[in-house]
């Protein structure tokens, strides 16, 4: 598949921007902002933890939109977009879960607890992991795409639940960084956000979102290339 010069140039610039942003955010996390008073150095995980969560959130929203668009237009490109977004979203979500567990060990004194937030994020991850497995099990391409679109729309309810749960359940111990919360009692690991922490946090979130969009672009191109190879293979086999 031939892409236009301008699109390839844009992707190249986005790649440079991602690398640049990543280096700056790395400097901000380890040099610009100091260690937090009550948690110490481990609090620096928080930037990547949240950045990865926002990246996965953006990717799952993309998958939701792709699912809706596929059902509306039945155009294959939306299915490719949905698949690519979910595949990347799963990895960013995994980074979010693992870094959260490592942060929790010294702060909560446990790697994992069945807190409402942690439970919903685990459900969310499993729901999207099941998407890939179930999708691979359907042979008919049209049925597979239709199923994937419907599933990606339904699976988004787990993302919504993950975001909402800490704002409505009073028994969570997970800190709420942005927006209202039902209670501040019982929250363990919360800390005051200084200006530098806020700046670094917002910058890291922005960086992770840009990285996720760049990788999504590459992943879509890979999907197109793979499909083109499959078509060429079929043509050769038919001619043989």
């Amino acid at each position: 598949m031939q892409y236009s010069e301008s699109r390839t140039r844009n992707l190249r610039w986005l790649t440079y921007a991602s690398i640049g942003l990543f280096i700056i955010s790395f400097w901000m996390i380890f040099a610009y902002v100091g260690p937090e008073r009550t948690q110490g150095e481990v609090q620096r995980i928080f930037y990547t933890h949240l950045g990865a969560f926002f990246a996965s959130f953006v990717l799952f929203v993309v998958a939701l939109i792709a699912g809706i668009q596929y059902l509306r237009t039945r155009h294959e490109k939306w299915d490719d977009l949905g698949l690519s977004a979910i595949e990347l979203g799963l990895i960013f979500s995994l980074i979010n879960i693992v870094t959260g567990a490592i942060w929790a060990r010294p702060i909560w004194n446990t790697w994992w607890t069945w807190d409402p937030r942690l439970t919903t994020v685990a459900i969310m991850w499993l729901a999207y992991a099941a998407y890939l497995m179930l999708r691979a099990g359907i042979e008919d391409p049209n049925r597979r795409r239709r199923f994937a679109a419907v599933y990606s729309i339904l699976a988004f309810s787990s993302v919504f639940l993950t975001i909402v749960i800490i704002r409505v359940r009073p028994d969570t111990i997970h800190p709420v960084v942005a927006g209202p919360t039902s209670t501040s009692e019982g929250i363990e690991g919360d800390f005051a956000m200084s200006d530098r922490i806020t700046t670094t946090l917002l910058f890291t979130i922005f960086t992770y979102v840009v990285i996720s969009i760049t990788l999504l672009w590459y992943r879509i191109r890979l999907e197109n290339r793979t499909k083109l190879i499959q078509a060429r293979k079929m043509k050769l086999l038919l001619n043989a």
Binding site: I45, I91, I95, L222, T226, K233
Partner: protein, 70 residues
Amino acid sequence: MPDTLDYMILGYIVAFTLLGLLIGSIVWRYRSCAKTEALLDQLEASEQTSAASTTSSTASSTATNAVPSR
């Protein structure tokens, strides 16, 4: 301030390893595609060559048959 440096290092090692694996898998698949494309180019070229030689040999045999015998 508690000493939690080890956990921070572990967290970043795991996060960057996962990110590296993701980027690495995309790069690996791109390279694998490039190799397959090169192979397909070769196969298509050899198929075109054999098709062309078949056509030319058929054409020449037809031409030979068309020459009146003396």
